[in-house]
C-alpha cells in the first residue's frame, strides 16, 4: 500500500489544528458537538491504527481489540476514580497495562494461526466484559454499574472550552502515535514485522526472531488500542461493561478493512468512517422512509449492512486502496502519453 504524500499530510494537520479556532466566526459549522464528534473519530482512528499494526502489518488477525480498549478505558477510569489521578497521567499507565496484557496474550497466540487466532481473540473479547463484572473486582470496576467520571478540565487557563480542549488533546495524542507508528514501520523492526506477514518462513530462516516480534507487536497494538480506550473514558466520562461488547471489535475490524488494511492513513479514514457510517445509516434510513415514502420499514441496521456490502463491492481493498488505484488509473493514460511523446522526440532528434 502506498504511503500518503507528505505534503498533504502537513496541510491536513495544519487544518486540523486551525479549525477549532474558527468557532467564534462560524459558531454553527464548528459547533462543540461537531468537535466532540471529530474527537470520537480520532479516538476510533487510534484504535483502528492499533489493530492495523497487528493485522495489517504483522498479519495476525484479531477479533479481540474491544478487550484492550476496555482494559485501557478501565485502567484510566479506575486511576481517576480511586486515586484521583489527572486524566493525562493515566494515558501512559493505560498504555503500559495494555502492552503487558497484549504481550502476555501474544504468547499463547504464537501457536495459533488464522481462524484459531480469530477464535482466541474472540474469546478474549467475550471474557473481558464478564471479568469486569467478576464479584471480587466489583469494588474496583463498579461492577455492572460502571464508573461515572468528569470531563477533562482545560489546563493552564487556556481560553478554550471543554470540547475544544478534548479535541486538541485527542489530536495531539493521535499525531504522536501516528508519527511513532510510521517510524516503527520504517525501521528495521517494521520491516521484520512485515516480512513475517508476507513470508513467514523466509523471515524465520533469515534469523528474525519471529516469536519475539509477533508478541511485541501484539503488545504495541494492544497499547495503541488501550490508549484509545483511555481517551474514550475521558471523552464519554463514563465506563460500563456494556460499552465494550464484542460488536466493538467488529466495528474496529470494519474500520480497518474499509479504511485500508496495511495503510496508516487508511486507519484514520477507517476511524472516521466507523463513526460516520452509524450516523449516516440512520439519516439514510429516515430519508428513505419519510422522503421516498417506502412502506417497508428499512431500519438503520439494514442500511448499515447494505453500505458495507456495497463498499466492499466498489473497493475491496478499502477506501485508501480504492482511491489509490483510482488515482493511478486516472494518471496512467497521461503518463503513457508523455512517455510516447518522449520516445518520439528521441527518434526525431
Amino acid at each position: 500500500m502506498p504511503a500518503f504524500p507528505k505534503k498533504w499530510l502537513w496541510i491536513l494537520l495544519a487544518l486540523a489544528f486551525l479549525v477549532p479556532l474558527l468557532q467564534p466566526l462560524l459558531p454553527d459549522v464548528v459547533s462543540n458537538y461537531r468537535l466532540f464528534l471529530v474527537s470520537t473519530m480520532i479516538i476510533a482512528a487510534i484504535a483502528v491504527l492499533g489493530l492495523n499494526l497487528l493485522t495489517g502489518f504483522n498479519g495476525q488477525i484479531s477479533l479481540g481489540h474491544s478487550a484492550f480498549y476496555a482494559v485501557g478505558a478501565y485502567t484510566a477510569a479506575i486511576l481517576m476514580d480511586k486515586l484521583d489521578m489527572p486524566y493525562y497521567a493515566t494515558l501512559p499507565i493505560a498504555a503500559v497495562m495494555c502492552f503487558i496484557v497484549g504481550y502476555l496474550f501474544g504468547l499463547p497466540a504464537l501457536k495459533l494461526e488464522g481462524h484459531y487466532l480469530a477464535l482466541a481473540t474472540f474469546a478474549l473479547a467475550l471474557s473481558v466484559p464478564q471479568i469486569l463484572k467478576y464479584k471480587w473486582l466489583e469494588d474496583l470496576t463498579g461492577g455492572v454499574q460502571g464508573i461515572v467520571l468528569s470531563k477533562p478540565d482545560v489546563p493552564f487557563g487556556l481560553p478554550l472550552n471543554e470540547d475544544q480542549w478534548l479535541y486538541y488533546y485527542c489530536l495531539v495524542v493521535m499525531v504522536l502515535l501516528y508519527w511513532a507508528a510510521a517510524n516503527i514501520l520504517n525501521s528495521r523492526s517494521g520491516r521484520a514485522m512485515m516480512a513475517i506477514r508476507d513470508q513467514y518462513m523466509a523471515a524465520d530462516t533469515m534469523g528474525i526472531d519471529t516469536a519475539l516480534y509477533k508478541t511485541v507487536t501484539f503488545g504495541i497494538s494492544a497499547a495503541y488500542t488501550g490508549i484509545a480506550g483511555a481517551l474514550s473514558a475521558s471523552a464519554i466520562a463514563f465506563v460500563a461493561p456494556d460499552s465494550f461488547n464484542f460488536f466493538l471489535s467488529i466495528k474496529f475490524l470494519i474500520g480497518l478493512v474499509v479504511g485500508g488494511v496495511g495503510s496508516l492513513a487508511g486507519s484514520v479514514v477507517g476511524g472516521i468512517f466507523y463513526v460516520l457510517v452509524d450516523n449516516s445509516a440512520q439519516a439514510l434510513s429516515t430519508f428513505v422512509k419519510n422522503d421516498l415514502g417506502l412502506q417497508f420499514d428499512l431500519s438503520a441496521y439494514t442500511v448499515f449492512g447494505i453500505i458495507l456490502i456495497v463498499l466492499m463491492y466498489l473497493m475491496p481493498m478499502g477506501i485508501v486502496g480504492g482511491v489509490y488505484y483510482l488515482v493511478r488509473s486516472m494518471r496512467s493514460p497521461g503518463a503513457k502519453a508523455r512517455e510516447q511523446a518522449a520516445l518520439k522526440q528521441r527518434a526525431s532528434s
Partner: protein
C-alpha cells in the same frame, strides 16, 4: 356582610394564581426547541443490537406524536419528535444526546431507554439544564431532585418491586428457602439489592443465587443448580426469553417451587404461553400496566381506545406487545405535561409542570393507579398490584400498593 376570613384568603390566592397563570398565557416564553408552531423533543432507543426488542417503544412513541399532530398538536404546536439509535451502547448515547441537545436543539429529551445509557448522560443533561423526562428504566436513581433536578423517572422502580416480593414471601410462605435467578447486569442487580433489603434480617433465607448472561443460549444449567439447593421459592429476575425457559425447565426436572416473576416478563404471550400454561399456574408477579394479551381487558374502554390507535397508527404493530401500551401511557403523560405548560415553554417551566401532577389518570395503567409528582417526588408511577397466574390469564389480588421508594 361579614367576610369569612378563610374564603377570603382562598379567594385571594385563587385570584393570584389566576392572574399568574394568565400572565403566563399572555406572555409567550420559549427556550431552545419551542416556537409558536413547534416543539422539538429528543429520544434515544436501541433499534439495533442485542436490546433491539425495545425498538418498538421508539416507533410507538413516534406514532403517538403523529396522532397528536393529526389532532392539531399540543396547544396548536406540532411535535417534532427526533429519535436516534444508540444500540444500547452508553458511548453512543452520549454522542446521540449531544447531537439532540446541541445540534438539533430540542426542548427536552423524553423516555431515553436503558440504565447504563441514561447513566452516561445523567450528569451532562443536568449540567446543561435540559429536562430529561420520564426515562425508560426501572433503576431507582432517577428520582433525586436535590442532586439531579432535571431528571425524572417514570415506572415503578425494580428496587421497590423486589421489596414487595420479599415482604410477600415472608408473610405467606412458611420456612421459605429462596433461590434467585438473575440477569448479570444493572437491571438484575437492582432487583437483587432490593430483594435483600426487603428480606432484611431474613436474608439468610436465600440459599442460592445464580446469574446468567444475555448471550447465554439457555439457563438450564442455572435452574438445575437452583433445584439442587433445595429452594422452595424461586425469585425469577429475567427477561421473557429466559423467564419462559427457566420456568419450563423447572417443570421438566420436577422442581415445583413458589415462583415470583419480575414484572419485566409478566406478559402472557411472550412469557407465560411459551413457558407452557401448565407450568406456570400460581406464579406471582407485580403489575402496573394492563397486559394487552390478557383477556380480562378485552372489554376495557381504555384498551379499546388503545386498540383503535394501534390499528390506525401502528398497523403492523404486534397487539400482544406490552411495550406499545407502555409507550402509549408514557407519551400520554408527556402530552399532558406539555399541555399544562401552556405558552410558557421554557425548560424550567417544563420541569415545574412535570413535578406537578395530582392523581392524573393515565390510560394503560391498572385501575386505581395514578400519576402523582411534586417538587420532592420525582417518581411518577409508584404503585403496583400483585397478581397470580390462573388458567390462561392473570388474576389481580390484594390492594394496590403505594410503595415509597428509598
Amino acid at each position: 356582610m361579614k367576610t369569612n376570613r378563610r374564603t377570603f384568603v382562598g379567594g385571594l390566592s385563587a385570584a393570584v394564581m389566576l392572574s399568574g397563570s394568565r400572565a403566563a398565557f399572555a406572555q409567550k416564553k420559549y427556550d431552545d426547541g419551542a416556537t409558536d408552531n413547534e416543539i422539538k423533543i429528543g429520544h434515544t432507543n436501541p433499534y439495533s443490537g442485542p436490546a433491539s426488542s425495545y425498538g418498538v417503544i421508539g416507533k410507538a412513541i413516534e406514532a403517538y406524536w403523529k396522532s397528536v399532530n393529526d389532532r392539531g398538536g399540543v396547544n396548536g404546536r406540532r411535535i417534532n419528535f427526533i429519535t436516534l439509535d444508540d444500540g444500547y451502547n452508553p458511548a453512543k448515547t452520549v454522542e446521540c444526546v449531544r447531537q439532540l441537545v446541541e445540534q438539533d436543539k430540542v426542548l427536552c429529551t423524553f423516555n431515553t431507554l436503558g440504565t447504563p445509557t441514561n447513566t452516561a448522560i445523567h450528569k451532562y443533561m443536568n449540567q446543561k439544564k435540559v429536562p430529561m423526562l420520564f426515562v425508560a428504566t426501572g433503576a431507582s436513581k432517577w428520582g433525586n431532585p436535590k442532586e439531579f433536578p432535571w431528571t425524572m423517572g417514570y415506572q415503578p422502580d425494580y428496587h421497590t418491586e423486589a421489596v414487595i416480593y420479599a415482604k410477600h414471601i415472608l408473610a405467606n410462605i412458611k420456612d421459605a428457602q429462596i433461590g434467585v435467578l438473575m440477569q448479570n447486569d444493572d437491571y438484575g442487580k437492582d432487583y437483587w439489592e432490593g430483594f435483600k433489603e426487603g428480606l432484611g434480617k431474613e436474608a439468610g433465607r436465600i440459599v442460592k443465587h445464580v446469574t446468567y448472561e444475555v448471550t447465554d443460549p439457555t439457563v438450564d444449567s442455572q435452574v438445575i443448580q437452583l433445584k439442587d439447593s433445595g429452594a422452595n421459592v424461586f425469585f425469577n429476575v429475567s427477561i421473557p426469553k429466559f423467564a419462559a425457559q427457566s420456568m419450563r425447565k423447572a417443570a421438566n426436572i420436577n422442581w415445583k417451587p413458589a415462583i415470583y416473576l419480575n414484572n419485566v416478563s409478566g406478559q402472557v404471550t411472550t412469557t407465560m404461553k411459551p413457558a407452557g400454561f401448565e407450568n406456570v399456574q400460581g406464579v406471582i408477579t407485580a403489575a402496573w400496566l394492563k397486559d394487552p394479551t390478557d383477556h380480562q381487558w378485552d372489554g376495557d374502554a381504555e384498551m379499546k381506545t388503545w386498540r383503535e390507535w394501534m390499528a390506525k397508527y401502528n398497523p403492523n404493530g404486534n397487539l400482544g406487545d406490552v411495550n406499545y401500551v407502555y409507550a402509549y401511557s408514557v407519551s400520554f403523560l408527556m402530552e399532558q405535561t406539555l399541555k399544562k405548560c401552556g405558552d410558557n415553554l421554557t425548560r424550567e417551566n417544563l420541569m415545574r409542570q412535570a413535578a406537578n401532577h395530582q392523581k392524573l389518570r393515565v390510560p394503560g395503567l391498572l385501575p386505581g393507579i395514578t400519576v402523582s409528582t411534586s417538587p420532592t417526588d420525582f417518581y411518577p408511577v409508584q404503585a403496583v398490584q400483585l397478581q397470580r397466574f390462573k388458567g390462561e390469564s392473570w388474576d389481580l389480588f390484594g390492594d394496590v400498593m403505594h410503595a415509597e421508594s428509598s
